[in-house]
């Protein structure tokens, strides 16, 4: 199977007040395309930092990151933004929907940055929201939705551009168990139906158990990779 993301001795250091934090200390690993990957580890182990670097939202201090064979270290901010716009969808723990926009416009936002015409965008938004079970909430604002519904809107926003990769940073962290499982069901369906690679950070062992590959992190390093599915 192809590798969608690879890392080679990636470090990430950043200042925090008068000290320096070493969030990643030489991470190396690969993420296979078409799989559901989870990254697990205690708080402060660098799980979210790793996700941000894989998602081109942050830059490594040293080491090499490749996305679909392309070396990300060589790309400008503009190119990285373009890559995110076209190939990577994000789902955040806190949903991060734009409160001033409706559900429809929140999801459509992802298409605006890749130049999809307005009419086509509207068609795709309606279809995607149907897919996540929110076809009846198009004109609602995020404040009018439950936590689970907001997260499903976030998933729709990530999905609508048909990305190569979806990155989810503790997508069920702010949800109850039942609602959280609904969201994971949705991500599994996306992976199954579209072949989209999913990389998820989670503290939930049950969620990790549903993935194909579990990457364990501790103190800024990947200390173990466990394959749960062939």
């Amino acid at each position: 199977m192809n590798t969608i993301v690879s890392l080679d001795q990636v470090t990430r250091t950043y200042p925090l007040g008068e000290t320096t934090v070493q969030a990643l200390r030489g991470v190396s690993g690969e993420f296979e395309q078409g799989r559901i990957h989870t990254i697990v580890g205690p708080s402060g182990s660098g799980t979210s930092t790793l996700l941000h670097i894989v998602g081109c939202m942050d830059l490594p201090t040293s080491g090499e990151v490749r996305f679909d064979g392309q070396r990300l270290n060589d790309l400008s901010q503009r190119d990285l933004t373009r890559l995110r716009a076209e190939h990577i969808g994000f789902v955040f723990q806190a949903f991060h929907l734009t409160p001033i926009l409706t559900v429809r416009d929140n999801v459509a936002l992802a298409l605006r940055f890749v130049g999809i015409p307005r009419r086509e965008a509207r068609r795709r938004v309606a279809a995607t929201l149907e897919q996540v079970g929110l076809g009846h909430r198009l004109d609602h604002r995020p404040s009018q939705l439950s936590g689970g519904e907001r997260q499903r809107v976030a998933v729709a926003r990530a999905l609508i551009k048909e990305p190569t990769l979806i990155l989810a940073d503790e997508p069920t962290g702010n949800l109850d168990t039942e609602t959280g499982e609904t969201v994971i069901d949705l991500l599994e369906a996306i992976n199954r139906d579209h072949g989209t690679t999913v990389i998820m950070v989670t503290h939930d062992a049950d969620i990790a158990a549903r993935s194909d590959v579990v990457h364990t992190m501790r103190d800024g390093r990947i200390v173990g990779v466990r394959r749960l599915a062939a």
């Binding site: 933004t81 991060h96 940055f113 890749v114």
Partner: protein, 379 residues
Amino acid sequence: MVDYAIQSILDRRARSVLTVIGVAVMITLVIVITGIVASQDRTMDAHASAGAGKLNIQPLMAGDAYPADGVDLTETDADAVLEAVSGDAIAGRSGKIVYFELEPPPFPNQPPDVMLVGVEAGHEEAFIASATGRVDAVAGSAAFSEAGVTGSVILGSHAAEALDATMGARLTVLDRSFTVAGILTPCDDLVVDSAVIMPLGDAQGLLGKPGLVSSVIIIPTGDDAEMRRVLAASFPNLFVIDSTDTRRTVEEGISTFEDLVNSIAVVVIVCASLLLMTVMLITVKERTREIGVLRAIGASNGTIIRSVLWEIFLLSAVGSVIGGVVSGVVMQFALTENIFDLRHILTYMPLAVVLTVLSGVLPAIKIGRILPVESLRYE
């Protein structure tokens, strides 16, 4: 991202309204202040033009001050000047004049607010006329030969208003009572407009200056520059001024006022721009996480910057229109004089929009430079 900017404005209604009000107030102040200066400019320009073709011959010590007050020449010298030009002056439009300031001018180097002017009966037009026309009376008479040689005054339009005098009323000037025999129509010549005109003898008696005058006025039939040269050569002890000198004196007089007012306008613009920049910096700071999410899902630096600039542009455009309307109302109805000038308003409105948008460039660029993950970490 225009619709995004509009939605952002509507969502932060209170702040948007206050920003629009701030921009509107700034524009109103700047337009009204500069409008007052422009109006003053036009008035002074008209005043200088009103004296076209008129020569004032006055003592050398008076220099180019017009009207000359406080320095006299003898009637003998004045008669000599009149004799020298008798064939070249427009009939009835030359004569001896006495000036005395009754109320000081509002600004330095400007004509007095009210001025006593003594003219020879039958030669009133030397004072109230120019090469191109004369001022008529809106009430009563514009000449003493009709109204009576002594004990009467003819008032300029502004003088009548300042002294609250009406046709036929008794008016006390320097402790002596006069009858208002005429009130002139408003005119561009501010000296005429501010004049309390009386017979020369009455003026000389009031001022205790028998046989003395302030200047001689001549309106030549031909080229006034040529006559000026002849007079200057023939009477080296006298100073000859024409409308060019008057214009220069007027411009010097109002330049200090203009500089002050323009400085105030600049300060208003700078303060408003800084305030708007501060508001936008705070707004951008508050929206750091929102912007981080936009960057995460693929919005470029340029998209973010354009979104912020659109927001500023829309707020300043609305404020500019409101300010333009309010300033028009103020200029037309709220000042002592209607100084409404649409061209003036339309010049400053887009300028204000440009300046306020420029004040938002720094906040917009600042937020565009933050990495997405830094924005998302922002609490």
